[in-house]
């Protein structure tokens, strides 16, 4: 009887925790949509097709197209900046580094991946941002500075993910390539990378997702202009930055409040798309 009760209660615990996870997922979607509706109803398509984001003006305007475009610009440029460099570091660690060297650098990278984004943002705001006006850049916080911050924030995680997928390729494949006369670099870049392609692509997608959702670095380093930057040294603001900077001041249940939930909803759609691609890639790599 005692065994029976123990069995039942443990199963109940497992069931409850899975229900909470499912409820949380649907809850977040449901809640974001529900709170977005007032803004969608009263502002309409202008939310997504206008660049005019003046939520506290009279009359207020809630066009977030430039914010969406900025989020995408930051994501694309950030990923393009981080991925190639972390790929070559991963190739070095995978194929050329000695075992000890690899262990030390990997441990270092794992430690640094834990450094909070607010600290990285603070360092660049304090030490790099003041340099910009001295070299003829009018805005001390800008797209370039945000990209530099994001680079340092995401390079550890991107490198570790790519390294793991390279390391999972069977050794025999590399050996047969070498036996056919291919030199190490060629083997790693052509054979190993191709065999680990799904894993490498997955690392890219997860890095992009990390960047699109990053808030504090973009908020403190981006400069905060709600317009599309024409060049790298222009200030800009993304969806995440708008939510974190304006939500504390937005009146409860106002259109502004609701419009910020729309911004959150757009972000969730981005991240869900990225995660779906990642799930598909991992499924393919398992085959």
């Amino acid at each position: 009887m005692h065994r029976e009760i123990k069995d039942k209660s443990r199963k109940a615990l497992l069931a409850i925790s899975s229900i909470i996870a499912i409820a949380a997922l649907f809850g977040i979607y449901y809640y974001l949509i529900k709170e977005s509706l007032p803004a969608i109803r009263s502002v309409g398509a202008e939310l997504f097709f206008s660049d005019q984001w003046y939520p506290v003006w009279e009359p207020a305007e809630y066009g977030m197209r430039s914010l969406i475009i900025n989020s995408l610009i930051v994501t694309v440029l950030g990923t393009l900046l981080v991925v190639p460099i972390s790929y070559f570091i991963a190739i070095y660690l995978h194929g050329f580094a000695s075992k000890k060297e690899k262990g030390i650098i990997r441990r270092l990278i794992e430690y640094l991946s834990g450094i909070p984004s607010v600290i990285i943002a603070f360092v660049f705001l304090t030490y790099l941002s003041p340099v910009f006006p001295n070299i003829g850049i009018y805005s001390p916080q800008n797209l370039l500075l945000a990209l530099i911050g994001l680079f340092f924030l995401t390079i550890p995680i991107s490198t570790v993910l790519i390294l793991e997928s390279l390391d999972s390729v069977p050794r025999e494949l590399e050996e047969s390539s070498a036996a056919l006369g291919a030199l190490p670099l060629r083997t790693y870049m052509k054979i190993t990378t191709r065999a680990a392609l799904s894993g490498v692509l997955n690392a890219i997608v997860l890095t992009a997702n990390r960047i699109v959702g990053e808030t504090i670095v973009v908020l403190l380093l981006g400069g905060g202009a709600a317009m599309v930057p024409a060049k790298l040294t222009d200030p800009m603001k993304t969806l995440t930055a708008v939510i974190a900077s304006e939500m504390p001041e937005a009146a409860q249940f106002s259109i502004h409040y609701s419009a910020l939930f729309v911004a959150g909803l757009v972000l969730v759609l981005f991240s869900t798309t990225f995660e779906l691609i990642s799930v598909m890639l991992l499924r393919r790599s398992r085959r």
């Binding site: 123990k6 069995d7 199963k11 615990l13 497992l14 925790s17 899975s18 909470i20 996870a21 499912i22 997922l25 809850g27 977040i28 974001l32 709170e35 460099i85 070559f88 570091i89 660690l93 050329f96 580094a97 650098i105 270092l108 990278i109 430690y111 640094l112 834990g114 450094i115 909070p116 984004s117 607010v118 600290i119 990285i120 943002a121 603070f122 360092v123 705001l125 304090t126 340092f152 030199l183 670099l185 997860l206 699109v212 959702g213 504090i216 995440t240 974190a244 939500m247 504390p248 910020l260 939930f261 959150g264 972000l267 969730v268 991240s271 869900t272 995660e275 779906l276 990642s278 799930v279």
Partner: protein, 278 residues
């Protein structure tokens, strides 16, 4: 003759590539360490008993960061008390029961940006459930945020257990729940501890969701109960950097070094348990 010649130049090329990659790796590693040092060292000179034990004073130009340290510890504790048991159970469900739609839900949840969890927590916990800006609202929000992280790590850990172990237990007549809780979980205890500490490191540095749900810039009193707002280390650094400029920079530097110390401590403990396993 020609073959040795090409081979020779190829070897040189390979050596060059190797050196180029090595330089790149070391260059980037040193840059990252440099950023780390810039974040950690300047704050060390402000460490004193007063800095750790008193409230900020005179427009953030004096005093200490005691309320922020306390707030960070409280929030981390509240969120982990909720998230670790739930995350472990959920991870077990993912690995031991074949429920692909729950795995799918967890994967999607794990990619949602932290600031969106903040929005959700603000709307649901702070406003609809009337918790206002509080430790409880922030702790609940953070626990939702790390739940997928913990459970997918526990899932990976459980999956690494050899199948023979399960089969041996079943052959002795154990029930599924007994196999899981009396056999599998104890065998990966250290890895689960590692997962918990890594998630603590993740929670303690989180800023954006707390700006929305739990943190205030300046609290004159210590929190009385779970429904009080708090100051935390990461939000304190954020507010100082965003609004206070050079006069308060020393305090942000000090707080940054304390926060880094916490993160290093937590990760070191996490990795210690991982090494013991081997």
């Amino acid at each position: 003759m020609t073959i040795t010649k090409t081979n020779g130049s190829k070897t040189v090329e390979n050596k060059k590539a190797r050196i180029a990659l090595k330089i790149l790796t070391y260059f980037i590693s040193i840059l990252i360490v440099f950023v780390f040092i810039l974040a950690f060292l300047p704050g060390l000179k402000y460490w004193s008993w007063e800095f750790f034990s008193s409230f900020p004073e005179d427009q953030m130009t004096g005093g200490g960061i005691f309320p922020a340290i306390l707030g960070s510890i409280l929030l981390t504790a509240v969120s982990l008390v909720i998230a670790i048991p739930l995350g472990i159970f959920l991870g077990i469900v993912l690995s031991e029961y074949n429920l692909s739609y729950i795995k799918f839900a967890v994967t999607i949840l794990s990619g949602i940006p932290s600031v969106v969890f903040g929005l959700f927590g603000l709307g649901l916990f702070c406003i609809t459930m009337n918790m206002r800006t509080s430790i409880l609202a922030g702790g609940l929000t953070l626990s939702l945020m790390v739940l997928p992280v913990i459970s997918s790590s526990v899932y990976e850990v459980m999956r690494s257990i050899p199948r023979e172990l399960r089969e041996a237990a079943y052959a002795l007549g154990a029930r599924k729940s007994e196999v899981i809780f009396d056999m599998l979980v104890p065998s990966v205890r250290n890895s689960i501890i590692t997962v918990s500490f890594v998630s603590a490191g993740r929670v303690i540095g989180e800023t954006a969701p707390l700006i929305l749900t739990a943190a205030v810039f300046y609290a004159t009193n210590l929190p009385k109960n779970l429904l009080s707002p708090v100051m935390t280390l990461p939000t304190h650094i954020y507010f100082l950097a965003a609004a206070y400029g050079t006069k308060a920079r020393w305090m942000a530097e000090g707080a940054a070094s304390v926060l880094i110390l916490f993160v290093i401590l937590v990760y070191t403990i996490a990795f210690m348990f991982r090494r013991e396993k081997k």
